[in-house]
């Protein structure tokens, strides 16, 4: 069994190691964290902890370094014992909400500033949107034979494209077509719209080239919305951590993060828990075996959930990051509810 004092020692080792990135000796622990005991006592405890599989010595007679298991124990303790208290800040929210309409912008802006703030790499997953419904469509003239087609969906997603139209159409004509289209298509899902466009019947009365444009745009939107997407920010931050002072490793990290497939899988898994951490090899990505991924999920109204992650070396300040991350996730949920819902 692991005694209370052992836990204290373990925590001390973790904290010191996170700070210094150097193996921690018994003397250090005794002096800085548990002055009521002598180094010899701590030494014995550390020896036990090593035997139990929580600490490792890089070589005999150096200090000790926490293990994946140690971090695991520590993180579980943090998460389960309610030491993660998201701070609900409302300042940023107000400042941002005015300028950001689209879900994607909101999420990316937050992620960017999170990565700037904590100097780690941040990834966000934008969940796939099943059965997006069209809210309205509008055409506006931009040049003699060209119009801008804007499509709004119920999830607040706005997409536009330039379409060719016949040159004799006036702005009013375009508006008329817009109304007719909106009437026909609003409330329909993107795939329904594509289906409808297959039927020749509709084509006749409306501009066929516009219809083609609508179909094309619908297909694009659906394609983009039907897969989970991943965005990564601040990947350069990895260079600030001494475990990546070897350029080879830094490059490995960057390419692993660029290659989004694996990360996406991990983050989809992370969506299910509220907040969780994959420590070291637990993340299952070979190039990231010396990294940890802390994931929190956020809500976006219509029953969809995305997730946001901080990625860094195994040696990271879990308590701080878990707190920051879960705050961020809750801010994000709030913003998305306010700006898109209602």
């Amino acid at each position: 069994m692991i005694t209370e004092r052992k836990k204290q020692v373990l925590e001390a080792v973790i904290k010191d190691y996170v700070k210094t990135a150097e193996p921690v000796g018994s003397r250090t622990v005794a002096r800085h964290y548990m002055p009521e005991y002598s180094s010899a006592t701590i030494r014995n405890e550390m020896s036990d902890l090593e035997e139990m599989g929580y600490l490792t010595q890089p070589h005999v007679s150096s200090g000790r370094v926490p293990n994946v298991h140690a971090y695991r124990l520590y993180v579980d303790h943090l998460i389960n014992d309610g030491l993660i208290n998201p701070i609900k800040d409302t300042g940023t929210e107000k400042a941002l909400i005015a300028r950001l309409q689209q879900m994607e912008d909101v999420v990316c802006t937050i992620a960017q500033s999170l990565s700037d703030m904590c100097r780690y790499t941040v990834a966000v997953m934008l969940p796939r949107q099943k059965n997006l419904r069209i809210n309205s469509l509008q055409l506006m003239p931009i040049a003699p034979a060209r119009a801008l087609l804007v499509v709004l969906t119920d999830a607040g997603i706005i997409r536009d494209a330039v379409v060719q139209v016949s040159s004799e159409l006036t702005a009013d004509d375009l508006y008329g077509i817009s109304r007719a289209m909106s009437e026909r298509f609003s409330g329909r899902t993107l795939s329904e719209v594509q289906g409808l466009l297959q039927g020749i019947a509709i084509h006749a009365e409306l501009e066929p080239r516009v219809m083609q444009g609508v179909g094309e745009l619908a297909r694009q939107m659906e394609k983009q919305a039907s897969a989970d997407q991943l965005r990564v920010f601040g990947s350069q931050n990895i260079l600030f951590h001494p475990e990546f002072s070897d350029v080879e490793k830094a490059r490995g990290f960057l390419s692993a993060v660029e290659e989004k497939q694996n990360l996406l899988k991990l983050m989809s898994r992370g969506v299910k828990q509220g907040i969780c951490a994959y420590i070291g090899h637990e993340n299952g990505i070979m190039e990231l075996e010396d990294c940890s991924v802390v994931i929190a999920s956020y809500e976006m109204g219509n029953n969809h959930r995305g997730s946001v992650a901080i990625i860094g070396p195994t040696r990271m300040p879990y308590q701080e990051l878990l707190t920051t991350l879960s705050s961020t996730a809750s801010i994000l949920s709030g913003m998305l509810k306010n700006s898109l819902g209602a």
Copy 2:
């Protein structure tokens, strides 16, 4: 005077050094580049070239390394003697043009793929747009008391924002307002619009909150358009070059590139020439003193010019990069003309 043979030797040294990143010895040059001479001959030539200031020895009795002056000579030769032949490719153009309407997207997409392709860092300058004129405005309903305001300018810039409107307005009402606004504002510059909105007279008949939104958006657009902007892509690529295997240096590079002010100044200068290269300290940016910046300018129709740059270590394949870069610039000019003009 520099003889023809000296030039050959110099070119050989440059080419070999670019390839291997190791100091080049006389034997290597003789064997691989000029087998008609012996190493001793080359040795004498190299000794002369060193005295003339084109080569440097990292230490006595190592091979020699080309200098800033050597690169300068080489690059001038390349540029002036017409060795840079832009390849006009039309494949990418067709594929991209369908999906990209906004100038910014076009430029950024091209820059991204350029950096992927050549594995260097790429920066693009988006020139400031003076006196943008409004082409048309349009409101479309998105929720009971909200509308999407879309603004088109003559430079093909599209910007949108959500504005609050009173809840009893129908889609037709919004269209009416759009028409009225378009009539009033189209052809005016952004600052004129802001000026007009100061006059109370207009407010009365149109929705005041919409007018506020227009003003706000116009201000934003003008602010964004009135300063040159810089976008950087593939900054991680620097890690592939051995001169940055020291993480300190890599970090210096990244922060210099992130801090866009200096780079922007350099690139504005580069706009004036068609294509040019700043080698080593010539770029005037302290953190980039061991880097070169190759710049080409592109045209965007309305007499505005932007520029695109490749940034990497001084040791770079200038011929290849100059060619690629100037091709890219001409493709870009072409795309912008096609998609925005007319």
